[in-house]
Symmetry: C2
Subunit: 431 residues, 2 copies
């Protein structure tokens, strides 16, 4: 098949027809499926269509809520957009458990964003250092049209520093810049600043330096180890079980599970994946970019040179303590936050938090999720809860009716859910 | 506000009313927004509701397609679910560019999945080793009911090995197990096997070992360094530009940008984030779990002890070569793949690939995305393309009509898009 020309210029109908004729002729329900996910409200649909290119329809992620979160004494219902069963249920359960034990505490450790101009320079290093110092005012002046609004809100460029990387790569240097972007995630702001700084750097270098300076690229970093938040819970050990012995044994086993995730990368990756179930669900619902958050978080988890757990736990003076420290460059203005009606609703549900408040809420969602997962792992095992939730999916796949669903839910209260055991049971009651 | 009891048992209407009364009374459009995203088809809506808990409505991600991918000689239109503008556009552009230069090649390097039983044992290590060897048949027999169907399809448990981790944590050992799960992602299968293995381990240990053995937890790992795929492109250097010199300079700059991402973590994180824009969009559209993929990929990127680029580039014998190696534990059966109608359509669009074929397609989407990003970075800068796409978002936010949009698109063909320049222009044409 030869390459198609001008596909992006086709109307939506033409695109769908092209697909159906050339790629989906074996799938007769294609047109119907694409159409049934479109919204009747033409204006709303156009809004969603224009978020990206070549939009054909809307991909549904379930939008749910986890109630009963107490964070720094305030009560929240947390919106989550996620397709994985049991994430919202586990978050809700953990929220309630810790709500009855004083709730979650959260604090911002930093809000510094980072961006870099990467360049090559084959000349004298000392000359370069002097040069970069000498053009600091030029840098500041050139970005003024971009930074003036951000400065009014209390943000802006913090520092513009030369970093020498010639030991890692021949002639390689950076302008390493730090930013405060207040309630914006700041990607556009930072990239616009950096591209302006890069222009100044090249222009001035051409006039003032004896050797050639070449900018390779200018771009923000999603690695933000100084844009971090800490969330924690704590309670007397004995309140973790019915008896003192039971509580002690539970706390110990829980802490051992965390220690394993601290020292064993194979476990740490899945441990943190579970944390991200909670984090991404809120990130998505609030219109933030989960790829940016994921990249920053996992790189942070590997910063010691070994990939490790983001959460930690210990017993101190009879208190069980469990906490997370995680980088989260989030925004509550700009991007999708004021465009996507459901994102607006999610932020309203959270009482229109500023970026720092949202960082706290998201970190708490991650910690709660991790508590739920580790709690299941060290008690009943992960499958029991997970397969119970998955039961409904299998039943839907079998096209079970309400009566059959009720029967199956009852039966599997005391029997192990596996894909084949559900099918077997279903065939029995239907026959 | 006190904790709400039994929220998950409320009907959807009761949940919404509770939210509106207690958290959204400052946001009068709440009910309308939640309702306008519901699907008219009650059965379809119920299916989506039951994917998770406390579902209120559907969160829309744009579902788009990127045409003109040639992979191992076959033509694909790749489905993408993503909210970020320019991802689909960049993928399409890269696909066409490389389609005219021989297309993408991809090959599977491995399909091994991993799971572990984590346990503590304070007794003699040699005794433990002999013991684990002696119960291998018991392990295999116990999991037979779970593995028999997987074995029919050519998968199953590959190995069950003891790993000693006592140097990292007192008394800590693992059963490190490897699996083949064919076209299933395999999480449920692996976890079910592991929980069964853990039971055997504890039972037999109680009878046969002189010291106590305690299982802490049993769970699959999302770290899958041996479940990897390689995707690549190559072309004569001179076909990268209009003149030989231009092509050579471009190739060199492109390779330098990749080298920077190989040695500088601040850059590598964002470099890989861009790759994940492409990967996650296909992962989501095909009903896979992007948190699992993200965790595995970023941990893989940090495996040397330093967080690094997933892509690489070089010139060899006059050929420009650009490639990615990435772990992708994907499934094309089970989970959402047969439940979510739009996922079924996405897989049909890709000609119903098996898991290995999907791994190749997803890796190519990541490589294409990275080519697009690095290409922009080393030529026009990232902002030009990005802000052009973002222009439409800003215009929608301003509630621009079709005439105003056309005027703005025309104007910003030759003017820099910034948030404030768009607002300024808009106010001018509207007044």
């Amino acid at each position: 098949m030869k390459l198609v020309q001008g596909f992006s210029k086709f109307s939506k109908e033409e695109k769908i027809n092209f697909l159906v004729e050339n790629y989906l002729n074996h799938f007769p329900e294609a047109k119907h499926i694409l159409q049934q996910y479109l919204n009747d409200d033409i204006k709303l649909q156009r809004l969603h269509d224009e978020f990206i290119e070549n939009t054909l329809t809307n991909f549904y992620l379930p939008f749910g809520v986890a109630p009963n979160f107490t964070i720094n004494g305030q009560n929240y219902i947390i919106p989550m957009a996620i397709e994985e069963s049991s994430v919202v249920a586990a978050a809700s359960k953990a929220a309630k458990f810790w709500g009855e034990r004083g709730g979650f505490k959260a604090e911002i450790l930093g809000t510094e964003k980072v961006g870099q101009v990467h360049f090559l320079y084959h000349g004298n290093k000392d000359e370069l250092e002097v040069f970069i110092q000498s053009i600091q005012d030029d840098f500041r002046m050139a970005v003024k049209p971009i930074t003036k609004n951000m400065e009014k809100r209390g943000g802006g460029i913090q520092s513009i520093q030369l970093r020498t990387k010639t030991e890692d790569l021949e002639a390689y240097y950076q302008l390493h810049c730090t930013f405060q972007t207040k309630d914006a995630m700041g990607a556009n702001f930072i990239n616009s600043c950096l591209e302006e700084l890069a222009k100044v750097l090249e222009d001035k270098a051409e006039k003032q330096l004896s050797s050639k300076l070449e900018v390779i690229m200018s771009i923000l970093s999603n690695y933000v180890p100084n844009c971090t938040v800490k969330a924690k819970v704590a309670c007397p050990v004995e309140s973790l079980g019915k008896t003192k012995e039971e509580a002690q044994a539970y706390a110990l086993k829980f802490i051992q599970a965390i220690q394993i995730a601290e020292i064993e990368p194979y476990r740490a990756v899945t441990h943190n994946k579970g944390i991200m179930n909670g984090i991404d669900a809120v990130v998505l619902a609030t219109g933030n970019d989960f790829r940016a958050i994921e990249a920053g978080v996992h790189a942070f988890a590997s910063r010691s040179g070994k990939y490790q757990s983001l959460t930690h736990a210990k017993i101190e003076n009879g208190e069980f303590k469990f906490w997370i420290e995680v980088p989260l460059a989030l925004g509550t203005v700009g991007g999708l936050t004021s465009l996507h009606p459901l994102v607006k609703l999610a932020l309203a549900l959270l009482q229109n938090p500023n970026a720092e408040e949202l960082m706290k809420i998201v970190a708490v969602a991650g910690l709660a999720q991790n508590f739920g997962a580790v709690n299941s792992l060290v008690t009943t095992g992960i499958q029991q809860g997970h397969m119970k939730m998955h039961l409904m999916n299998i039943l839907n796949q079998l096209d079970a009716n309400t009566y059959e669903k009720e029967k199956a839910i009852e039966h599997f209260k005391s029997n192990t859910v596996t894909h084949s055991s559900v099918i077997e049971f279903f065939e029995k009651i239907r026959s």
